[in-house]
Structure formats: structure tokens, C-alpha cells
């Protein structure tokens, strides 16, 4: 009867399962293991059936578009004839299709209970949304949303808004980290933890997750934006894996690709994306965390045999804190390149450090960094090089090379500019770490909020009914403003990642500034959020099983690595000041007049007593008010800082001393700048949102975000007479009101992040 005679009844019986299994483009390791085991034992399958099916259990060999389409066609044609498909299991559908096919021929095996049971077993292991996917295919409605109807919006729909065009890759990773193979577990012993993390990394590579950021000509997927989403989504779960993923594919892979040329790409990209070549990124030295320019390692070029000698001058100059240092076969070593006695600054050279049996090569010394506060699944270590010789071709030579005559040459003449171009790759790291911070905040808030909604608290009068702790204002104040900021940073960092993925060179300076500020603000926010969530869960929050232990200790370093937050905020302030001066320089006096003019006119409007005292709800939740307040704070801090700096310089105070005197002011400016950027991107995201309910709830969260930031800085607004006390007090009341209003939607807002229950994992957050 079926028009597609290519499929045997055996294959047809399994087709719905394989369709659903592949419909989110990923088969997880546990699924594969199970399918392999079961398939071989199924007597209703012919050997040819088994061969056909088994080829589609290799995650590196997904069905081609054509094959998948043929499955879809077959399923549609057959299933549409069946009644009540949405109420049937995938196993039942498979069996019915098989039995109604032309090649069925009354094979009794398909009627045996054990056949049905076997299919049920696979279905239950593949589990869950199977029906949803199939129903979607068949154009039927999935009616499972009824229990979520109590919110003012549909969390699934909000999730689509949040995931945006990254939904596909995010869902792939979501599915993967739900798999038992990636199950969150507190592993105390670092050796055991590292082995687990390494195995998981290799599984990620096997599933093709290492290939996103690289061009297809070298086996990559050409999806740099998606590679950031992989990192972001992994961060919901175990962050040792997240960081190890980042080290291998982002830092090491990024150095090979971004600083190397074709000869390196051809040799190394494919094995490194497959996890066959493990590498590390050997930049930081003990005394030079934030000062890459001052690295002490040397790379001497020897013209006689066209080699480079890598050397660590003293024990203190060893490479420090290098992720993957104990598992790597190769290190991307940053060192001062010296040619003919002349230092051409920091360059990156690929240095083999271990043989195939994982023994260290001669001249290389490695030492375990030992236990850390967290991330103990990552093998951080120190590395020293004792005059290790490598061929010249190991120099990553995109921005600096040595000619056949032994002369140094570079497409970028200015060594300073060359240096910063080479470091450009770090920007992706900063965006990624910022997003990972947001993910950790989300997981922590999801746990704390779900617990707060379950947990009852006595209310002093034992006769009254116990209320949930989420009903307490202090609890709402603790968590809901943090939730609003988490939403805000989500949108800002996602937008920044988009900008980064599309950027050309002239945008990079601005993106670097924004990335520095956002990384710092989002990771500080993350540290604070997890701490607050832990405390909000009391003693239960202290048990490792409830995840805060690892969330907190793993992400604590986010404020430090990929650039210390305080140092990054100084970069932001410098960037802002430079641009400010630049625009004056370019546009002359008119620009200053315009800027001041703007400011003057604001001043008049803003300092109007009617405004400084306006305490109406409408005014306080008016986005125009928020924008003006954010703008005023940023501009005033910029003008006064610029003025102070000029005064000091006129007094012949050295720039460094002037910087020291203005350091606190600079940090404030950087915060104000970044807050404003966050608000801008939050607004853009709301504008793009075309679901009314979603945009309404996002607007409310944005209100809370804005007022929370204003409230945190209210002393500044009061000091500067921008608001009167009556107004800041009213803001506090509006925050309380918004927290109370959001109380009913708070679970939906957490559900919209789409963190799988297997990943939330904390017993206190899950239903019994």
C-alpha cells in the first residue's frame, strides 16, 4: 500500500523512533549505546534492516538531507491514514505502519508481545518529547501546555524568543547534556573528575561540537556564532567541561586558526576539532597575568637551521594556570620573538609537548596546579621550556613571519597594533565567559526559585497556614531583581555575540570595549547571584547535591580569567575616553558644543523640580525616564572624568599618577557605560519581539531591571541632584510592587530558559 517500497517492515517499525531521535540533530551517547544493544537482539529485523539502521546511530554520520526527507515522506504518507496518532506511542505507530506496508506478508514476529515491548523500551529511553516532534510533523497540536496556563505568557513561546536564531544548536546541546553520560555529579577526586571531563570532551568532539567555529574547507561547520552558543549552553551543566571545551576549541583552536595560516590549518584543524590532537593555550606567566606584553618566555630564531628555540628564562617565568596542560600533545606558546637579536614582541608558536603515549618531550616540564576552588575537572598546570627547538613552520605566522633570508616581516607595521590584533581572539573568550556567567546565574536562580515556591515557612503564628518563602518580600527582593538583571545581561551578551560573529575589523575596537565591560558586569552579577541563591536555600543550598557548591566554585574564577574584571573595567573607561576625545578631534568645536548643548538642555528638563520630584508610577515605569537617567549618569561621569584628567595633565602630573587618582572614577564610568549598553540591547530585543504577551512581560522585567540599576546608584543620583529623596523612595516602592507582580510569573520566567530538569538536577528544585 505504501508508495515507498524501499523500506522493509522492520525499518518502518523503527522509523518513527529514528525520526524523533534525529529530529533534534543529535543522538546522545546513552541513546546510541542502548540502540546498538537492542537492535542486535531484535529478531523481527533482518540483517539488512540492522545494517541500514545501525549506520544512522553514528553521531558523526547523521542521515543526509535526502534520507531524512525520505523518512519524513514515508512517515507522513503512512501516519496520516492512522487515527488518533497524537494519542499513540511511537512504537505503536511504527508497528502499524510496518504491518500496513506492501512487503509485510503477515510476519508473525510483528505481532508478538516481546516485539512491542522491545520497541516500547527504546521509546522510553529516547523518551519524552517524541510525540511532540511527530505531531509537529503531522501538523497536529501538542496539548501538553495546559499546566502552564497560569502565567501571563506562554513560557515555550518566550523560550523561542530567548533562543532566537540559535535555537537549533542550543537544542542540540540541551539534548546532549540531558543524557546520563553528561549528568551533573560532584566528583571530589580531581584525577577521577579529570578523566570524566576528558571523556566528555571527546564525546563532544565525536558529536561534531568541536567543528562549529572553523571553516568548512578544513572540516569545520563555518558557524562561529553557534560555537559561542555551544559554550553558553554547556555552562548550564558542568563547567569543567565548558571550560575544557573552551580551551581546546576556543583558545587552542582559535590560536591555530586565527594566528596561523593555511599550512597550520591543513595540518591541525581537522584533528583538533575531532579531539585527536589536544592542545593548550600557553600565554599567562606567573608574574604576568594581565600583562601579556611583558611575557618573559623567549622564542629565538636560528637562521642556520631555520628553527625557533623556546625558552623559559627562570622558574618564575613558567607558564601558569594553563588549562589542558596535563592532557595536551601540543601547546600554543606565546613568547617574545627574537630575530637577529631584535625583539619583535609577543608571537605564538606551536610546540609539541607530549608524544603519543603522553610522555613529556625533552626539555618540557609540566606541573599540576593542584586542587582549585572549582573546575577540578580541568587539568590546569604550569609549563616550562628548556631551550626547546621547533621548526620555523611552527610559528603561527599570520601577523608576523620570517622570510627565507631570515628577516622578520609583518603585514602590520606598528608593533602595538600588531599585538592588539593578535589578542583580538580573546574577545570571543570574553563574550563566551560572560554568557557562561549568565547561564550559571540562570541555573542558580532556577533552583532557588523552584525551591522558594515549594518550601513552606512558619509565619510566627502557628495557627495561620504556612506560606511559601517566595511570598516573603525579603525573598522576592533577594531573587527577582537578580532575575531581571539576568534577563538583561542575556539580551546584551547575545546581541554582542551576534555583533562579534558578523564584525569586520573596523567594528572590533568598539566590540572589544563592550565585551570587556559586559564580561566584567555579567560575571560579577553571576558571583553575587549564586551567593544570594545559595543563602536563599539555607542549609539545603549548602549540600553539594543541590548544585550551588559547583556552580559557585566553578564560576568564581570567571571574574578573573579572560581578563581580571577590574582591569577590564579600566580598559572600558580608556576606550570610552579615547572615543570621546577622538570625536572631538574629528568634528572640532562643534561636537563639544553639541555634546554640552545636549547636556544643557537635559539639565533644564531633568532638573525641573517637577521631574526630580515626580513619583508617579507611570513616570517611574516610563522607559524614556530610564533612558534619560542612564544617559545622564554616563555623560556626567564621562565629562567630569575627562575634565579631571585634563586638569591633572595640565599640572604636569604623569599620566600614570593621573590614572591612579582617577581610578575609582574610571570604574564608575565603565559601569555607567555598560549599564547603558545593556539597556539599549534589552530595548532592541523587546522591539523585535512580535508576540504581545512576551513583549509585555519583557517590558515589565526591563522596568525592574532599570529601576534596580537606578536604585543601586541612587546615592549618585541624589548627590547630583538628579532626583530628590521623595523620588528615590518612590522607586523603592515601585520595585517592591514589580517584585510582587512578577511573583505569579516567576516560575514561567524560569521555565522560559529551557534548562532541562536533568541539568537542574538539584533535588530541592525538583518534584518529589
Amino acid at each position: 500500500m505504501t508508495k515507498n517500497p524501499d523500506f522493509s517492515p522492520g525499518v518502518l517499525s523503527m522509523l518513527p523512533l529514528f525520526y524523533v531521535g534525529w529530529s533534534d540533530s543529535v543522538l546522545s551517547p546513552s541513546e546510541i549505546k542502548l540502540i546498538h544493544k537492542k537492535l542486535s537482539a531484535f529478531d523481527f529485523l533482518t540483517d539488512a534492516d540492522k545494517d541500514y539502521l545501525i549506520q544512522y546511530t553514528d553521531p558523526k554520520n547523521p542521515p543526509s538531507k535526502e534520507t531524512f526527507k525520505s523518512w519524513v515522506t514515508t512517515l507522513k504518507e503512512n501516519a496520516n491514514r492512522l487515527n488518533n496518532v497524537e494519542k499513540k506511542s511511537l512504537a505503536d505507530i511504527g508497528l502499524e505502519i510496518a504491518k500496513s506496508s506492501t512487503s509485510y506478508k503477515n510476519n508473525e514476529l510483528f505481532n508478538l508481545p516481546r516485539t512491542k515491548d522491545a520497541l516500547y523500551e527504546i521509546e522510553s529511553a529516547l523518551g519524552v518529547n517524541g510525540n511532540g516532534s511527530l505531531n509537529l510533523l503531522l501538523g497536529k497540536l501538542d496539548n501538553k501546555q495546559s499546566d502552564l496556563e497560569s502565567f501571563s505568557f506562554d513560557p515555550k513561546s518566550l523560550q523561542n524568543t530567548l533562543d532566537g536564531d540559535q535555537a537549533e544548536v542550543i537544542n542540540r546541546v540541551r539534548k546532549l547534556i540531558r543524557d546520563p553520560f553528561f549528568k551533573f555529579e560532584h566528583i571530589a577526586d580531581k584525577e577521577q573528575y579529570r578523566q570524566t571531563t576528558l571523556a566528555q570532551l571527546k564525546e563532544l568532539a565525536k558529536q561534531g561540537f568541536g567543528a562549529y567555529a572553523f571553516p568548512s574547507e578544513f572540516g569545520g561547520l563555518d558557524k562561529i556564532r553557534e560555537s559561542i552558543s555551544v559554550f553558553e549552553t554547556l555552562a548550564y551543566n558542568d563547567n569543567s567541561l565548558t571550560i575544557k571545551y573552551g580551551v581546546q576549541f576556543g583558545l587552542f583552536g582559535g590560536a591555530v586558526y586565527g594566528l596561523g595560516t593555511k599550512r597550520h590549518h591543513e595540518l591541525y584543524i581537522d584533528p583538533l576539532t575531532k579531539g585527536e590532537l589536544l592542545g593548550c593555550f600557553a600565554m599567562t606567566e606567573t608574574g604576568h597575568g594581565s600583562n601579556v606584553k611583558g611575557l618573559q618566555s623567549t622564542a629565538h630564531y636560528n637562521h642556520e637551521n631555520k628553527t625557533i628555540t623556546i625558552n623559559t628564562p627562570t622558574h618564575e617565568d613558567g607558564k601558569e594556570y594553563i588549562g589542558n596542560a596535563l592532557h595536551s600533545q601540543m601547546a600554543a606558546v606565546f613568547a617574545q620573538l627574537i630575530v637577529n637579536g631584535e625583539n619583535h614582541g609577543v608571537h605564538c608558536i606551536l610546540v609539541p609537548i607530549r608524544d603519543k603515549d603522553n610522555n613529556l618531550l625533552e626539555g618540557v616540564k609540566a606541573e599540576d596546579n593542584g586542587y582549585k576552588m572549582g573546575l577540578n575537572g580541568v587539568d590546569n598546570g604550569r609549563l616550562w621550556f628548556d631551550n626547546v627547538e621547533v621548526p620555523l613552520k611552527n610559528l603561527l605566522n599570520k601577523y608576523g613571519d620570517i622570510s627565507d633570508d631570515g628577516e622578520y616581516m609583518s603585514p602590520i607595521e606598528n608593533p602595538n597594533k600588531r599585538f592588539f590584533t593578535m589578542l583580538g581572539a580573546l574577545v570571543a573568550g570574553r563574550v563566551s565567559v560572560g554568557l557562561a556567567g549568565v547561564s550559571c546565574s540562570k541555573t542558580a536562580l532556577a533552583i532557588a526559585i523552584k525551591y522558594g515556591l515549594k518550601r513552606k515557612q512558619f509565619n510566627g503564628n502557628s495557627k495561620e497556614e504556612e506560606v511559601t518563602i517566595m511570598d516573603y518580600p525579603s525573598h522576592q527582593h533577594r531573587l527577582i531583581p537578580l532575575l531581571s538583571k539576568t534577563y538583561a545581561y542575556h539580551f546584551a551578551l547575545r546581541a554582542l555575540a551576534d555583533r562579534y560573529a558578523q564584525a569586520d575589523e573596523k567594528d572590533m575596537r568598539k566590540i572589544e570595549t563592550d565585551a570587556a565591560g559586559l564580561k566584567a558586569m555579567a560575571t560579577w552579577h553571576n558571583t553575587r547571584t549564586i551567593q544570594e541563591c545559595r543563602e536563599a536555600c539555607g542549609g539545603k543550598g549548602y549540600l553539594a547535591e543541590n548544585r550551588f557548591t559547583n556552580l559557585k566554585s566553578d564560576s568564581d574564577i570567571f571574574t578573573t580569567f579572560e581578563g581580571d574584571n577590574t582591569v577590564l573595567m579600566q580598559l572600558v573607561a580608556k576606550g570610552v575616553l579615547t572615543e570621546f576625545k577622538q570625536s572631538f578631534h574629528n568634528e572640532g568645536a562643534m561636537a563639544i558644543l553639541r555634546f554640552l548643548g545636549d547636556k544643557m538642555s537635559n539639565t533644564i528638563a531633568e532638573f525641573n523640580p517637577v521631574t526630580t520630584r515626580n513619583t508617579s508610577f507611570d513616570h517611574l515605569t516610563d522607559r524614556a525616564f530610564h533612558r534619560e537617567a542612564f544617559r545622564y549618569r554616563y555623560r556626567k561621569l564621562l565629562l567630569t572624568l575627562s575634565g579631571r584628567m585634563n586638569d591633572y595633565l595640565k599640572k604636569r602630573i604623569t599620566p600614570f599618577d593621573a590614572f591612579l587618582k582617577c581610578q575609582m572614577h574610571m570604574l564608575e564610568l565603565a559601569k555607567a557605560y555598560t549599564d547603558r549598553y545593556v539597556l539599549y540591547e534589552f530595548r532592541q530585543a523587546i522591539e523585535k519581539c512580535n508576540d504581545e504577551k512576551n513583549s509585555k512581560i519583557l517590558n515589565k522585567i526591563c522596568d525592574l531591571y532599570c529601576l534596580t540599576v537606578i536604585n543601586e546608584n541612587k546615592a549618585w543620583f541624589l548627590e547630583n541632584d538628579y532626583m530628590e529623596g521623595s523620588k528615590t523612595k518612590a522607586i523603592r516602592r515601585v520595585i517592591s510592587k514589580l517584585c510582587q507582580e512578577l511573583r505569579v510569573d516567576v516560575l514561567g520566567l524560569v521555565e522560559a530558559w529551557g534548562i532541562p530538569n536533568e541539568v537542574i538536577a538539584a533535588p530541592i528544585a525538583l518534584d518529589d
Copy 2:
């Protein structure tokens, strides 16, 4: 020649070493081990010498006052005849004394090099301040302070001020935790960690540290104040041990002593102080962390056989998070006491839970709580009781008993009052945890500040000399205000501990309020301080060897246990409100008038524009200004809260709803109340200080403390028109100035805490 013929030359040769060893009243386990080993091999000692000396190596058998005095006399008489004593080693002095004694008789053994070497070896193991102690005895000056002269005060002298009358016990513990047996180590495996902690606990008991809090008639030392100092000082080091110490001697021992009567004291106090009877404090139940009144466990009295049946009704009602649960032989179980069907509320009953071979007794179930964020050396677990019968005499019957006729009786008629009297013992726990929080803050600051003074940072211009990160304003702002608050909480909690140790019943209510507030504020401060210190040390701070890992994760729970901080702050506010209303009630309308009158007169002075705008340095560092500001904030918050509450109640809003509406206001009031108390005790401590340099530096730290608190609350002062923006900005400048001034003294301020280097332990903080 010597007038003391009792001592043989052999004993005399060892006497300086034994004198110094015992002069701080403690011989540590490693010292004992070493002395035992060496003594037995010394051929210059007779067997009688060895017997005499070995008896004084038992920590439980220190030399009597008479014996010690005879040593002192002998040493003084002999040593004063020697030249240049202060330049000689203890071994040399011992030998010289031995050889000049009447009983010497030219024993050649004393001239052999190996004899000298053997003595040297013991001296070097006993180590350190040996000469200092002996020189002190002999009235010579110790000239070792020269390297500390660069401070504006003498850290040793400031340490004496800080230690006060607790110096002796603090020094005992300091010496003990310097011993390798107590060496800080990151132990990842919880089973191994627990064994280490248990062994250390037993050593503490062996050294007599478990006996402090108990009366001498039961083998105790009658030093309740000192028992808190033991806890406080242990907290510099490993906090699993600190907490296990607190559970065994404070909670379990405290329950037996404080809630039991003579029959319990005679049976249990001695073995428990010796660590022979390990016990736990089984109060908390899942679901009833902060609601002790609502505990579900029951204790049914059976008159027919005069027993009590302890039962856990459902799995959920199990005792949760019980420290020592897996090592204990006995549990002090809190349960609803039911006699003749009538519930008399929560009482405490001693329930044997394990036999001598550590097997659980019938009807008792225990479960490991598993890994926690920290404190993994403490065996926390859950406990369930399935109708376990114990004799009536196991009821801790000080505040509630059952007569021979089977009738319930209590010296306190009001069940509510009875309940709170029974919980009074928790106050000591709160004071202790607060102090432990201060100790952790001190250790963290000591590490971060010492590192900050060593670590150089590039300054943008590579030609300029690198400066230490402690020279950066942002770094000073990060750490020095936290240091000032740590000093403030130190004095406040020490004073509170003094008050507690001397309190009679009528003081307890007030002490409970103060303890609740201080515990909350000091532990929040601690969490924040360690976080800031970790970040200030960058990646190095993330390595476990540098101690923040354990400091942070161990002390994180301080904000939760012994009362959740938010709940405690509500208690403070309630206490303050009650007292406020009480004083009105007692003193009638006059009191209100006086209070308001006070307020009115303040208002006039304070709101004088000259004051609200006064930005002079003298005014801003005037203690009278600080006191007024603290007082105004407290009083205004109290008046407005009281007013709001009254309004709600008049509108017939239920008290619980009124409380919900005022919860945030209550938290603010509790903070203001506690800040004011801290300042009061800081001032008292400075007044008592009779060293001019110490009082000067403490005054400066107090200035910084006050301005830091005002600065943190400046939005409130601005909102309430108590200060103008010009003044709050000026305060920020004064804070910067004070930080800069304190920069030169900052190391001395850390040294004055007297944390031994062996305890600081972090490689980044110690000299290479």
C-alpha cells in the same frame, strides 16, 4: 654551686627547653612525639632523669605551679650568672647550667658533641620564640622588633590590646594550630577528611580544650568565656575542626550541661570533655530549620515502665544536617514531650544511638548528608528514630520534668518562656559563629594584604617601575575598609562574649538581640570579605593551596546555621520594637516626649544647613558626628517603623500581613541598630586602651569604619536630607585619604592579629 640540689645535671641541661616549652602552657602533639623519641636515646640522662622529664610531656599533666616555680627559680639563679644569655641558645644555657651544678662531677658525656647536637635538635623543633621567653624571664630585652619599626605603632603591643584578658588561652590555641598535626591541608575525600578532623578533635580533648566551658566539680575548667576564645582562635585554621569542636563541646556538651541536672552532669560531662563520649545535637528537622517550635519528632512518656519513646513520624521529619551524626554514640534529641496525651512542647532527651563498636542501635537510622560546599571534615547526617525507648532519667530535666506520679512539672509555668529559656544556649553558638566569621575574615585579609604588598603590577608604561598592587586606589578601596570593619566586629563580638559570660538572666533578652544582629552582620561581612580577597588575589586566589577555597566554602554556611541571617535580623527588629514599646508603657507619656524631644533637638542641630553641608576633614572625622549620624539613622528607622506598624494594626490588618509589609524596613532597622552597637563597643575598646600609639591607630580605623558605614548608607542619609550631596562626596574623598594613610600601616594591622605563619599557610602570602 646551685642552691637547688634537687635537679640532676641531666635535668638541668634540659630545663631551659622544658621551661620554654611549658611557658605558653601547651605542648603540642609533635613536640611530645619528638621529645619522647629523643629522650629515650639520650645517654647523658639517667633513667631517673628520663622519668622526671617524661612525666612533664603529658599535656593533661602540666607541671604544677610549685614545680614550674622551682624551675623558674633554678633557671634565674643559674642563668643570671652567665654572660650574654640573650645571645645564647637554650641548649647552650642548659649545658652551662648543668656543668656548673654541684652534682656535675665531670661527667664527660656532657662534653661530647652529640650531646650538644641532641639538645640543639630539640631546641630547633620546639623552635622559635624560645629565647624571647627566657629573656623575658631573665628581664632582658627582646630586640627582635626592629624590622617592624616602620609602622606608626607596635604590632605586638596592639596584639596585646586585641587579645586582652583572653591572651593566655588564645596563645595556647595559637601554639597548637601551628603544630604540623593541625596543619591546614585541602583534603578532597570526605572520609579521609573526617578521620583527620576526628583525630584532631580527640587531640584537642586530650589537651584539655574540651573542658573549658564546664564546672570544675565535673572535671571542667570553669572558664566559659575562654571556651569561646578557643572556638574563635581555631577558626583561623581549619573550620571543620572548629565546627566539630563546637558541636561536641558547645552544642552537645552545652545541652547536657545547660538543660540537664546533676544526674546527667555526673555521668556525662567528664567523658564528653575527654572526647570519650561523642555526641550530637539533634534539633533541626527537614522542613523546620528556623521553626524549632514546630518540630515533628515526638517523645511519649510511658508511665508503666517509666520510659520515653522517641519517634520520627514520617521520613520528612527526620533530623537533618546533624553534625557528628556519623561518629556519635549519643544524640541530644529535641522532640515534643507528650505526657498523658498532653503535649508540653519541645524538650531534649539523651538517646544512645551507637554501641561501643560504633554500630547503630536498633530503631535508629542514620544517613550521610554527602558532600557539602565546605566543612567536609564534619560528618553531617540525617537521623530517624523508630519508636526508640529510653529511660525517663535520660530526659534533660532542668526546665521540665515528670514526677514519680507521672505528672509533668516545670519550674517555668509559661510554656513559651520555658521554650525560650531552653533555647538560650543557642546564644553562645551565635556569639561564637560571629567570632569565627571575624577570624576567617582576618585570615583572608592577612593573605590578600600580604600578597598585595608582594605582587607587582605593570602600570601601562613599561618604562616606569612596577608598583605593588596595594598601591592602587582600587585595591586599597577593596581591602582596607573591609579591614576596618573586621576590627570593628572584633571588638563588638569580644565585648558581647564578655557580657554573655557574665550575664545573669535579666540581661539575656538584650544579649540575645545583640547576638542575633552581630552574628548576622559579622557573617555577611565575612562572606563578602573572603570573596573580595579571593578576587583581589586573581587566579592565585583560586588555587586551593592559597586557602580561600576552604575559607570561603567552609564559612559560607555561617550566614545560615545557628539561625538564618535574615530571620535573625527580624528577631533583632522585633526585640528593638518590643523594648521601645515597653519603655513607653513603663514610663508613660513622658518617655515619648523625651524621645521625641531628643529627636526634635537633634533635628534642629542636624538639619542646620551648616551641618548638612559641612565637608571639613575635622568634622568628618569627628566621632561626635559619626555617633549622631548612626543614632539618627537608628531612631528615625525605629520611629517610622513603629508608626507604620501601628497604622496597619489600626486598619485591622493582621499582624502577619503587617509584618510582611514592613519586612524590608525591619531589616534596615536591625542593621542600623547593630551598626550603632558595634560603634559603641569600638569606642569603649579605644577608651580602655592605654597605649597612645595603639589608641591613635585604632581611632583612625574607627574613623574609616564609621565613614564606610555612612557611605554604604549614604543614599538613606541623602533621601532623608540629613546630608547634602557635597557632604557625601566629601566623605568619599576622606575614605580615600584614610585608605591611603593606612596603606603604610596595613601590614602591622594584619600582624597584630597574631595569626601564625603556619596557619596563614598560603604560599602567595609567605616569603619565598
